[in-house]
Symmetry: C2
Subunit: 398 residues, 2 copies
């Protein structure tokens, strides 16, 4: 029998001793009176509520699969098949065994450290990048190395230098996390030549490329560029995407495509087993018969128009910032006038009733305070104009 | 640059090098012509399809929360509140911060090793037990110590001996995994005195008690016994339960209640973040206004009657087996006649068109082959009678 009073805290595993605050605090922002351009929420105006409701009613009504949808069972194979077909239309020769459906692509990203990272392992990320993913890699103890992003996405010459330098010290990074199309936060899209170079480097140095393509279906202008997964014949690319931007984030359905050995291991660490038989059937029923494709066309029209509203408003109200209009996605990334700090600007903007994401949130360190991310996805055109007007006032107050 | 050809397999973390087959193979059984009494599937006859459909239609129609349900956001706090209220009715003084909603209780159980287990740590389980949980603990590298179950659940005298012996060798187990009410697989319910003794031992030795109460709401007869969480004032109990048995498994909603420090850490390792805003609102909308309570009453009537059908059929067809009729839950646990092996009986039964779970599947080792688990939850009364008749033929063939 122990002689001192036992404490519950002593039961925690080493990895759990330090409590980390949850990453998912963004939702609370929506209820404030602030016009927030900070987060990449979807536009509720085009949630296909009636058609989703019809899909649920069909499934729960006299559909022969209703009993299976509501009982214990697997992720609906028909949804996996739909993802396969979408991939094949992008020249990715996917088989169902190479696909894992998860609760949002953020779940897939959060599983990567479990499958790939031992203590001290190196991961290459873009600077700036999607902080939800990067924070997960950091939490898992990864050593993060940043490769710069320019107007054409990740700079592959810089990547080559980084890989060579790491190899010289005996380090083989586990994966390169990249958002090659409509990059978050910069909006940049990597051209074909860089994509090919990236795959070559991955194969040469034996590093996995994690292609996060949450936004790729939302192209407003310009020609399609093949996804990294279509350019890779040896399994060096794990492609991750989601129904969040093209249907509704709240349904929580994302997926990964890659080598069977990787998909099997991601599934092994997916703590809840398969992804809900009910929700996967609702999404598949909705998406069938071209409904999802038609919906994506409508979304592209909506986001193109809202992006244009933001671009025009920035040109009018913020003549001193530098930015490039994106060809798709949710964000405009802007560089502030020389010497202005994003965190200071945010305080001024919030006092006046709008908010944005300071660039420093998109780096694992102190960099990025000269940049800001502005999401045009969630607010209406009118609110976007109002918010950029407020931002102009805030800038002039500094 | 590396001189040998790099291999993707070399990128896997140590914990992921050996691929483990998925645990969730049960669903495939349903499509065979076999009458399966093997798995604890819910009875589709009472899935509240119309009311669930109405809840989805209300939410997706003109409900003010539709936009929030479909966008990024948190687990719906109203569902957490409902779980709180159910706990308070069982004399558990729960606060919302003490509750984590997950994708099924199996997700919560699978997260336990992340929060509590360092390599070589000891976990105490019941023998027999729910193998879905135990396999997860095993996969995580836990050292499992088994305490026997009798007609009154876990034998707390044996537990006291086990804890004393472990303490004598300097070992403090991290948690005791128990199913005190309508035990899976034995159906046994732990009386109040043993429950109190279990909590005392947990506090004395500083070990967490994980109370898995998936079946507790499905009582056919006998008086309610307070859950372990109601008997514990110091936070030594983590209570885990689910909407799977009282509503529909395919919705994948379960929950944990416990000390804030534990709940926060479970949330930290829940890879997908919060649990879907849409599905948690559908479940909460359905469950409100007493609908779930009324539904549970109807379920108790249904399962009581099917249990009785099975008990009568066993008495009639299998006079040589020993069993105790449960007061609730999904299962009858039966001991075969002296010398008969469950795995051999299963072969004979399957040849004739029925299946069950051999007891050996409920132990982490070779024990249990003299017992079988028969689920009365899924099949109709007629099919249960037919299956037990087939089982009688199979037994007589040995």
């Amino acid at each position: 029998m122990p002689t001192t009073q036992p404490r519950i805290e002593d039961l925690f595993a080493a990895r759990a001793r330090e409590a980390v605050p949850p990453l998912y605090g963004a939702a609370g922002q929506r209820t404030t009176p602030m016009i927030s351009l900070a987060y990449g929420l979807a536009d509720p105006a085009l949630f296909p509520r009636d058609q989703l409701s019809a899909a649920a009613a069909t499934l729960l009504g006299d559909h022969p699969a209703a009993a299976e949808a509501l009982n214990y069972g697997m992720t609906f194979p028909g949804l996996t098949q739909q993802v396969c077909e979408r991939l094949r239309r992008q020249a990715v020769e996917a088989e169902p065994e190479q696909i894992l459906i998860g609760y949002g692509s953020s779940q897939i990203l959060a599983l990567l450290p479990q499958v790939f990272l031992d203590p001290g392992d190196t991961v290459i990320i873009e600077g700036p990048s999607f902080m939800g993913a990067v924070k997960r890699f950091q939490m898992a103890g990864a050593h993060l190395v940043t490769v710069p992003v320019d107007a054409e996405g990740m700079n592959t010459d810089a990547l080559a230098d980084t890989l060579r330098d790491l190899a010289a010290t005996g380090k083989r990074p586990k994966f390169i996390y990249t958002i090659p199309t409509f990059h978050n936060p910069t909006g940049a899209t990597m051209p074909l030549a860089r994509r090919k170079r990236l795959i070559e480097l991955a194969a040469e140095y034996g590093v996995l490329v994690v292609e996060d393509d949450a936004y790729g279906d939302l192209r407003f202008q310009g020609d399609e560029i093949p996804p990294l997964a279509a350019l890779d014949s040896d399994g060096w690319v794990l492609r991750v995407s989601t129904f969040s931007k093209i249907l509704a984030p709240g349904l929580r359905i994302g997926w990964a495509y890659g080598r069977r050995e990787i998909i099997d291991r991601l599934a092994m660490f997916k703590s809840e087993g398969t992804t809900g038989p009910f929700i996967t059937r609702v999404v598949a029923l909705y998406s069938a018969e071209g409904r999802l494709d038609n919906h994506i066309d409508a979304l592209c029209d909506l986001y193109r128009s809202k992006c244009q509203v933001m671009v025009d408003a920035i040109k009018r109200e913020l003549p001193d910032v530098q930015f490039t209009a994106p060809d798709g996605g949710f964000f405009v990334w802007a560089t502030l006038p020389q010497g202005m700090r994003a965190t200071e600007l945010l305080e001024r903007a919030q006092e006046r009733g709008m908010s944005f994401l300071p660039g420093v949130n998109c780096y694992p360190d102190e960099r990025g305070n000269e940049c800001i991310r502005l999401a045009f996805s969630f607010q209406s055109a009118e609110k976007i104009e109002e918010a950029i007007g407020i931002l102009g006032n805030a800038m002039r107050s500094i």
